[in-house]
């Protein structure tokens, strides 16, 4: 344990790293200490779509996120991992301000999407959300036809041109790798699809408005391995085209599909860096413990 600590200090890669050595970071976090995150240098070299700086969040009086600094690189897949209840979903939902819907939430700090502040006064939340796509843990297709589900974001924008809608519908469904399965039943209810298909439909819906960033909250947690595989393939295909931020509990998945990985613990970002580094040579012993399944 101590060896790893020393290596880290010797290398001194982290910008925000203080000199205080932690005998046990996790215990320190749990006891409420202000433990800084370890962020790999590789991150800073990337071009960033989403920049989260010094972000804090409270549910009522209870703080759920502490001093999050997270820059999501453009066109790459970034995965958020961490034990249950550490605030992954909360962070993700903050990106498209879904937490506005909860009355008790209070935030500090800022996020920027391609240079535009997300939490500035006067930001049009609706416009903002249109620039992102979000997929939830549980598939949530609307009780409408498959076609209407996919073109819903365009409908609410007032798009009425049938040809445009059909074109985008096909493009999105193809993008979500579900076109072949549903092309003959576009007018059927979306609820008649299987769970995996529904989730891919939700992804299609999320990419229909060509968002700048795609937020996926455990998209595979309710699916079987085959469906999971398909979604993983899909994410692989979407890489490069979209900036993707994905929450997952599955270490293999994170290592398979993501370019960058961030580990969170009790509302704090613990370590953030290229996936390969995080899984093979993490700077922190705790990270290694977590990714190898030794705690949590």
């Amino acid at each position: 344990m101590s060896t790893i600590n020393t290596t880290e200090e010797q290398q001194g890669v982290s910008v925000s790293e203080t000199k205080t050595p932690y005998s046990n970071r996790l215990a320190a976090i749990a006891s409420g200490e202000k433990v800084p995150s370890v962020i790999h240098e590789a991150v800073a070299r990337e071009e960033h779509t989403l920049e989260i700086s010094d972000f804090n969040l409270w549910y009522g009086v209870k703080q759920a996120l502490f001093d999050i600094e997270l820059d999501v690189p453009y066109g790459q897949v970034t995965s958020l991992i961490g034990p249950s209840g550490c605030g992954k979903s909360t962070l993700l939902r903050c990106v498209n301000r879904m937490n506005d819907l909860i009355g008790t939430v209070r935030i500090e700090g800022n996020m920027e999407l391609n240079g535009d502040s997300i939490y500035k006064v006067g930001v049009d939340v609706i416009e903002l959300r249109k620039r992102m796509g979000m997929v939830f843990q549980k598939p949530n297709p609307f009780p409408m036809s498959i076609f209407e589900n996919v073109v819903y974001p365009l409908r609410i924008d007032g798009e009425r041109n049938k040809a445009v809608l059909e074109e985008i519908c096909e493009k999105s469904l193809r993008g979500a790798a579900i076109w072949e399965e549903v092309k003959d039943r576009l007018q059927e209810s979306a609820l008649s699809l299987s769970g995996g298909q529904q989730q891919r439909l939700c992804i299609a819906r999320a990419i229909a408005s060509e968002p700048e960033v795609l937020l996926l909250d455990e998209p595979c947690s309710a699916l079987d391995p085959i469906a999971t595989g398909k979604i993983e393939d899909l994410i692989g295909e979407l890489r490069g085209e979209y900036t993707i931020l994905i929450v997952t509990h599955n270490m293999q998945q994170a290592s398979r599909i993501s370019d960058y990985t961030a580990l969170m613990y009790l509302g704090r970002l613990v370590e953030y860096g290229p996936t390969l580094d995080i899984f093979t040579k993490p700077k922190l012993k705790e990270t290694e413990d977590y990714v190898t399944g030794r705690f949590g």
Partner: protein
């Protein structure tokens, strides 16, 4: 560790009560316990509860269905003969009618003795026969003694009860006193009061006990009297036996009953001897005792005193204008002559437009033919009449008089022969046949057979008469339909065309009223300004400004100017309507007189021509006419003067009203012409229909009863019709019920207006409640931030559902009818709301603008960045802005409510209210209010049931709040919302209590919606516009009215069930409609169309 837990859990699930040691054995040994553990008994308990509920519901529906469906079944007509008290009266007493009810009741001596003598005797005979005792009179004392035995037993019981109550009463009294005493002694006023209140409730209990005590005291008294009576009776009958024995011994020397029997036979040879004679002859108390004893004997010695007897209720109908007889009659079996019950073949049931049902045997069918009188005959007759009546007016001397009379003679002869000729011609058209006789009627109305014709008489009518029931009935069937068709035509003329004309008249009148109001409206601001000036002057005086000062003078000058102006206008303000109406009246009078004058002139000229221009008679005729017309001219003068006077008054009005006044007269003239034409048509139809008469014999009146065919809705020979015809009658009654207006105080006829009233009211209610309820629920669930206020509102709404419906009725009456309704009718003044002066109104308008601006700025500056912390100032700003907004809304409302410019939409109709009274709109809104909580609660639940993931998904796609609600939340919640609506509708449609206050009436002359005209009569399809202000009939209220307000409750009761059935069916139909709509909407919305 975890495996251990699993094990324990597994054991527990296997057998809830088993001990871990020997689970299996235990399991096998106590299957009862295991049953309990599996909840077996609960299956039966819950299932039983469900079964009981189902049974009640099915029973309720079944009862309504059975009674409702059976109302219209045609029953056979039964005729029975009653035993008559007076044997010398050979008039049979017959009761004829449909049997509507049958019941068994206790026959008692007391009830019997109110019956007629013969009936009582028969009951005694029957009873004795039932007992089968030969020696009954001799045994009577023993029987009475037996009876006394029971009476004594009852007496003991009554005494016990009395004692019991007595004890209770004394205890309670004592307690009460003590309590009050202790409370007063305690000195605390409130305690004393509480004690008094409690004491008063105990006092009520005490009163109850006292009442029971009194009842039993009465009972004891009666029983004692009965006992005494029994003793007397025993003495009486004992005396009787010994007397008769003595008498028998003294008279014949032979003791024994046989001889006494012989003797009675000798005395009254035409009456059979009766051993029971002593009972019949006994004085009343002894007789009561004897009958009591006999009845007790017959009932068996089980302690019963009475014998069960059967009685049936006959619907006897036959009410008429002259006799308002009861239409239902109980007939007990013992009142009937044995074997007299029959079903007379030819008795028919006739359902009449007026006076309800009629039962009688057709005796004659009469077809009346009026003789047509040609102009020649008419002219002759009127000339002769002119001379006969008015010769003295000519003022001739006797000689000339004689001459005139002489010259009249040929005319008389001519008239006579002319008449004879036409009468001959007329009569020759008819001949007597086997089944038809002919009667003729002269001027005086005397009817004689054709054979008895008096050549000298002037016959004006001939009647064809068919005189056997069969033919009379056949003729009835032949003519009835056409008569009814004509009647329908007459109805349509009367109700629709006359109605339309009178509406035009009213509109013209309203036009005049509007002109009046225009003049008055000019006065209002002047008066208002005068009032202000006056106030100012008084104010000046108060501060001590002298009346000579400039300021004061200026004011007073302006005041005087205004006064002059107001007077000038007031002079123009005449009662246009009154004047025009009066002028019209007098004009009509004048027109009638003019018509008479013209007729007289013509008659005079005609007579002169007939007698030759220069004859004395011609001169006399012209003289008479001149005199007559002079009289008429005198009669004409007062109305003509009056018209001139009124016209002069009318001149005072400003010139511009003249065209309106002229139009009024024109409309009235046109309407008069149309009215005349319609009335002529109506008279023609009435005359034609009055030609057909059905004359029936009845058992309710000695003389035959004449029925006019157009008064009969439906008739059938009840004892002859077969199944198919019975079904026909049944169907036609149902059809009449749902497609016609009610008659006979709603107890007969149809309920069409009530059906439409119910349906329209329910629909308006649904349309009103849906948006309000759904929007309110949307706000509560989707927009409002959870907090104390929202919870309070939510609880209040739920509690609103529990407020008694009559409270809503009172609110509706107070707020809608007399408040908003009066406001709509005639502005704030009419609703007795405060009115602002114009100046103040504009000032307040300015205030409103300022307040709104402030509110707007406040709420802008109070906005918080989402997710950010709301500072104390911001929160304060938010709250303040809310209050300012509320204030702005209040000011806005006040501005509308107190607007001085608004004078209502129906001012011309005042003081008759249009919306300022109960009406279908207000009833619907009241019920909408009543059902609002149901809709809000249901909608809220439906909204809450929409999964949050749906909402988040939608927001995630960039949808705004309203887009999410519209596209995702509402479609998802729609079935739930519709279910709420259906519940609300069902509740609203069946509600009666509030409706009584806000517009439901017993009989609405006009439907709230116009119905299609259907071959002359009103059809069931609505076409016309909705009149939301009209009062209406409602099935629920109709039921209440039938059940509780009807004079003829026996006739109304069956209709109660039928109407209830209909109400249930209509509510069901409305609900099915709503469910259908729900399914349709569900499909539409969920297929994702925007």
């Amino acid at each position: 560790m975890s495996s251990e837990v699993d094990q324990v859990a597994g054991e527990q699930t296997r057998s809830g009560l088993a001990k871990p040691a020997r689970p299996r054995m235990k399991h096998r040994s106590s299957s009862g316990m295991s049953m309990l553990a599996h909840g077996e008994p609960m299956v039966w308990l819950t299932g039983g509860a469900l079964a009981a509920c189902l049974l009640m519901i099915v029973g309720l529906l079944g009862a309504v269905l059975y009674f409702g469906m059976s109302t219209f079944v045609p029953l056979p007509i039964v005729q029975v003969e009653l035993i008559d008290a007076d044997p010398n009266d050979d008039q049979k007493r017959l009761v004829t009618g449909e049997i509507t009810k049958e019941e068994v009741f206790d026959l008692s001596a007391e009830s019997l003795l109110s019956e007629e003598y013969a009936v009582v005797n028969r009951v005694i005979e029957d009873t004795v026969k039932a007992i089968g005792d030969e020696n009954i009179v001799a045994n009577l004392p023993t029987l009475i003694e037996n009876d006394s035995e029971f009476v004594r037993r009852d007496l003991v019981e009554a005494e016990e009860k009395l004692e019991y109550y007595n004890e209770w009463i004394t205890t309670l009294e004592r307690e009460l006193e003590e309590r009050i005493a202790s409370a007063t002694a305690g000195g605390r006023a409130i305690e004393a009061r509480m004690a008094k209140i409690r004491a008063s409730s105990d006092g009520e209990e005490l009163e109850d006990y006292r009442a029971s005590f009194q009842t039993f005291r009465g009972k004891r008294k009666a029983l004692r009297a009965q006992l005494k009576g029994n003793e007397d009776a025993i003495a009486y009958f004992n005396g009787l036996t010994s007397n008769s024995e003595n008498a028998a011994t003294t008279r014949t020397g032979q003791p024994g009953e046989g001889s006494s029997e012989d003797e009675e036979e000798a005395e009254t040879p035409d009456q059979p001897p009766s051993k029971l004679q002593p009972i019949f002859d006994a004085p009343r108390p002894a007789k009561v005792a004897a009958i009591n004893a006999l009845l007790r004997e017959q009932a068996g010695m089980n302690g019963e005193k009475t014998v069960k007897a059967r009685r049936r209720m006959f619907r006897t109908g036959n009410k008429s204008k002259e006799v308002n007889r009861p239409t239902f009659e109980w007939v007990a079996d013992y009142q009937m002559v044995p074997g007299s019950e029959e079903r007379p073949e030819w008795t028919i049931v006739a359902e009449r437009m007026e006076y309800g049902r009629f039962y009688g045997v057709p005796r004659q069918f009469v077809l009346r033919h009026k003789r047509t009188i040609d102009t020649e005959e008419e002219d002759l007759a009127s000339i002769i009449e002119l001379f006969d009546m008015n010769l003295w007016r000519a003022g001739l001397d006797d000689e000339k008089n004689g001459e005139v009379l002489n010259s009249l003679e040929p005319l008389r002869e001519e008239l006579k022969s002319l008449r004879k000729k036409t009468i001959d011609e007329f009569f020759n058209g008819f001949s007597v046949t086997d089944n038809k006789s002919i009667e003729i009627v002269d001027e005086g109305g005397t009817v004689v057979p054709l054979a008895n014709r008096d050549e000298a008489k002037n016959y004006v009518e001939l009647r064809e008469v068919w005189s056997t029931p069969e033919i009379a009935w056949a003729k009835f069937e032949q003519y009835h339909d056409e008569v009814r068709e004509r009647l329908a035509e007459r109805y349509s003329l009367k109700e629709h065309e006359l109605g339309m004309v009178s509406k035009r008249r009213n509109d013209a009148l309203k036009e005049l009223r509007r002109e009046e109001l225009k003049i008055d409206a000019k006065l209002a601001p002047i008066y208002r300004e005068k009032q202000i000036l006056e106030d100012e002057m008084i104010a000046l005086e108060k501060v001590g400004v002298s009346s000579d000062s400039d300021a004061y003078q200026k004011l007073s000058k302006r005041f005087d100017e205004l006064t002059v102006e107001a007077q000038a206008i007031a002079r123009q303000s005449v009662n246009l309507r009154g004047l025009a109406h009066d002028i019209k009246q007098y004009d009509d009078q004048i027109e009638i007189i003019d018509g008479l004058i013209r007729e007289n002139d013509q008659l005079g000229k005609m007579a002169a021509k007939r007698f030759g221009e220069d004859s004395v008679a011609a001169g006399a005729a012209l003289e008479i006419v001149k005199k007559l017309n002079e009289e008429k001219q005198i009669e004409r003068k007062p109305p003509a003067d009056k018209v001139a006077e009124l016209r002069a008054d009318l001149e005072k009005a400003p010139d511009y009203v003249a065209p309106t006044v002229e139009r009024f007269f024109e409309v009235q003239r046109e309407a008069d012409l149309e009215d005349r034409e319609i009335n002529e048509n109506i008279a023609r139809i009435t005359k034609e229909n009055s030609r057909y008469l059905l004359i029936c014999d009845t058992t309710t009146s000695p003389a035959p009863v004449t029925l006019s065919l157009d008064n009969i809705v439906r008739a059938y020979p009840a004892n002859q019709i077969d199944k198919a015809e019975a079904v026909g009658v049944y169907g036609s009654r149902w059809w009449e019920f749902i497609s016609d207006d009610p008659r006979e105080a709603n107890s007969e006829g149809g309920v069409l207006p009530a059906i439409w009233g119910t349906v329209i009211m329910t629909l308006i209610m649904s349309i009103a409640v849906a948006p309000f309820g759904v929007l309110a629920a949307l706000y509560l669930r989707e927009y409002a931030k959870a907090g104390v206020i929202v919870s309070v509102i939510r609880i209040s709404i739920s509690n609103l559902a529990g407020v008694p419906s009559i409270v809503f009725g009172v609110f509706g009456l107070g707020f809608f009818c007399t408040g908003v309704g009066s406001y709509i009718d005639g502005g704030p003044e009419n609703a007795s709301w405060p009115v602002l002066s114009e100046g103040r109104w504009f000032v307040i308008l300015a205030v409103l603008a300022v307040v709104s601006c402030i509110a707007f700025t406040l709420s802008l500056s109070g906005r918080v960045r989402p997710g950010a912390h709301a500072t104390a100032t911001k929160r304060l700003l938010q709250n303040v802005s809310t209050f300012v907004w509320i204030a702005a809304v209040c000011i806005f409302a006040a501005l509308i409510v107190m607007a001085p410019f608004f004078r209502g939409f129906y001012q011309a109709d005042l003081p008759n209210p249009t919306f300022g009274k109960g009406g279908v709109l207000w009833a619907s809104l009241t019920l909408a209010l009543l059902t609002l909580p149901v809709v809000i609660v249901a909608t809220e639940e439906a909204l809450a049931a929409v999964p949050n993931s749906m909402r988040e998904g939608s927001y995630g796609c960039g949808a705004s709040k309203w887009q999410t609600i519209r596209n995702i939340v509402l479609p998802h919640a729609l079935p739930g919302i519709m279910t709420g609506m259906i519940l609300a509708m069902a509740r609203g449609a069946g509600e009666v209590a509030p409706l009584m206050l806000v517009g439901a009436v017993k009989l609405a002359p006009e439907l709230p919606i116009a119905l299609a005209d259907f071959s002359g009569s009103v059809g069931p399809i609505p076409t016309g516009p909705l009149h939301a202000d009209r009062s209406f009939m409602h099935l629920g209220f109709h039921i209440y009215d039938l059940g509780f307000q009807s004079q003829d409750s026996e006739a109304a009761r069956p209709m109660v069930f039928t109407t209830t059935l209909l109400l249930i069916l209509i509510i069901a139909a409305l609900n099915i409609g709503a469910i259908w709509l729900r399914n349709k909407l569900r499909k539409r919305f969920q297929s994702g169309q925007f």
